[in-house]
């Protein structure tokens, strides 16, 4: 009985264990989000939560929660793309933001 239980527990633990041994999971969305975050950072306009969203996406991915990982990575990607667009727009138009009385 003990042997059966041990085998069962091994089967249950195997997927997550192998993922950890492989050094994490891979996700194209996370990679895209990270690349976009770096682009925003290079423009000195990274948003507050992007890095933590990516870190949470990686954690979810490593735990096999692919849907959650994708959702978090999508949010991070969206944030980063908006941050890049914001920086590019402000680079050209910041003087228009000076209020007049």
């Amino acid at each position: 009985m003990k042997k059966v239980l041990s085998l069962l527990s091994l089967l249950v633990l195997m997927p997550s264990g192998s993922m950890l041994l492989a050094g994490g999971c891979s996700s194209a969305l996370i990679d895209q989000a990270e690349a976009a975050r770096k682009e925003a950072a290079a423009l000195r306009n990274e948003w507050r939560d992007t890095a933590s969203l990516i870190a949470s996406a990686k954690e979810a991915c490593e735990q096999g929660q692919q849907a959650k990982a994708d959702e978090l990575a999508s949010r991070a990607l969206n944030e980063s793309q908006q941050a890049v667009a914001q920086a590019q727009f402000m680079e050209k138009n910041w003087e228009m933001m000076i209020p007049e009385h």
């Binding site: 914001q86 402000m90 910041w94 000076i98 209020p99 007049e100």
Partner: protein, 286 residues
């Protein structure tokens, strides 16, 4: 023959002189004049927005705008919460380093130099803030630098601000490099950033004096005169760059490190906008 020789020797020098004369513009740019025009427009904006407030009173921040808040603040200032920090700052300022020197060795006038900072160091090509100068003095004397946002550095800065009260803000912008740093700070101040797409000017110019939940938004004019501040929210004294980081977080932008080039340039610009006001730090704030 002799004359030709002399001419040949003199020719390179003559060419150099004429090249310099051609390259030099008829009128060199007066960067201070450009900054002064900005300062005038900036201060005029607030004077039109709040015609009942005297220009000098903007050094009191939000308490210049709201009478009730001012009354509470004045009562608080009778026993100011930063008093112990100023005393601790004085002791730290005079405390000998391991090499026998002290912070007092680095600063003239007994440390009453608040009015000289921030300035643009032409040799280094960057803005130097008071906090930066304090830590550089420590490092130069073999001591470890203090953390930038609070603690001992803020206490010493508070002491130096306290003994400098009444000095006029007088930021100078004399060169192209200084003007570039000033313009970077200006751009930072007006450009929108973060998840909320807000800028420093969006809150502290366009919304100055209005309520943000229970609080009144302070005017940008005079904000740099009274730091460091003892903030009730912090429960301790903190530096201007700590406040900058807090503001950036509030609008959903990743803050820059205290004393980063971004925040030093922002301080340089913002302080120039308060030229003519008096330094009156440290202060207490909610």
């Amino acid at each position: 023959m002799m004359n030709n020789k002399i001419l040949r020797r003199l020719m390179p020098a003559a060419l150099m002189v004429s090249a310099v004369m051609v390259a030099r513009p008829a009128h060199a740019t007066d960067y201070q004049k450009l900054v002064d025009a900005d300062t005038q427009a900036f201060q005029s904006y607030f004077q039109k927005e709040f015609p009942e407030v005297k220009l000098a009173d903007f050094a009191n921040g939000v308490y210049a705008l709201d009478e009730d808040a001012r009354t509470q603040w004045q009562e608080m200032e009778e026993f100011p919460p930063y008093e112990l920090d100023v005393e601790a700052g004085k002791a730290l300022f005079n405390k000998p380093f391991a090499n026998g020197k002290s912070l007092a060795s680095c600063f003239p006038n007994g440390g009453a130099v608040r009015g000289q900072y921030p300035y643009f160091d032409e040799k280094r090509g960057e803005v130097v803030t008071l906090e930066m100068a304090i830590n550089e003095c420590r490092v130069k004397n073999g001591e470890k630098p203090w953390p930038w946002q609070k603690g001992d550095l803020a206490k010493v800065s508070a002491y130096m601000a306290y003994i400098s009260r009444g000095q006029k803000v007088d930021v100078k912008v004399k060169s192209k490099a200084a003007y570039d740093a000033y313009m970077k700070g200006k751009k930072f101040f007006y450009a929108k950033r973060g998840q909320l797409n807000m800028s420093c000017s969006g809150c502290h110019m366009e919304y100055a004096g209005r309520h943000l939940r229970a609080e009144i938004v302070s005017p940008a004019l005079g904000q740099t005169t009274h730091f460091p501040v003892f903030r009730s929210k912090w429960g301790e004294i903190g530096t201007l760059h700590r406040r900058y980081a807090g503001c950036n977080k509030n609008i959903g932008a990743k803050p820059f490190p205290a004393q980063s080039e971004e925040y030093r340039d922002l301080e340089f610009f913002q302080t120039a906008m308060s030229n003519g006001l008096e330094y009156n730090g440290p202060a207490s704030r909610k």
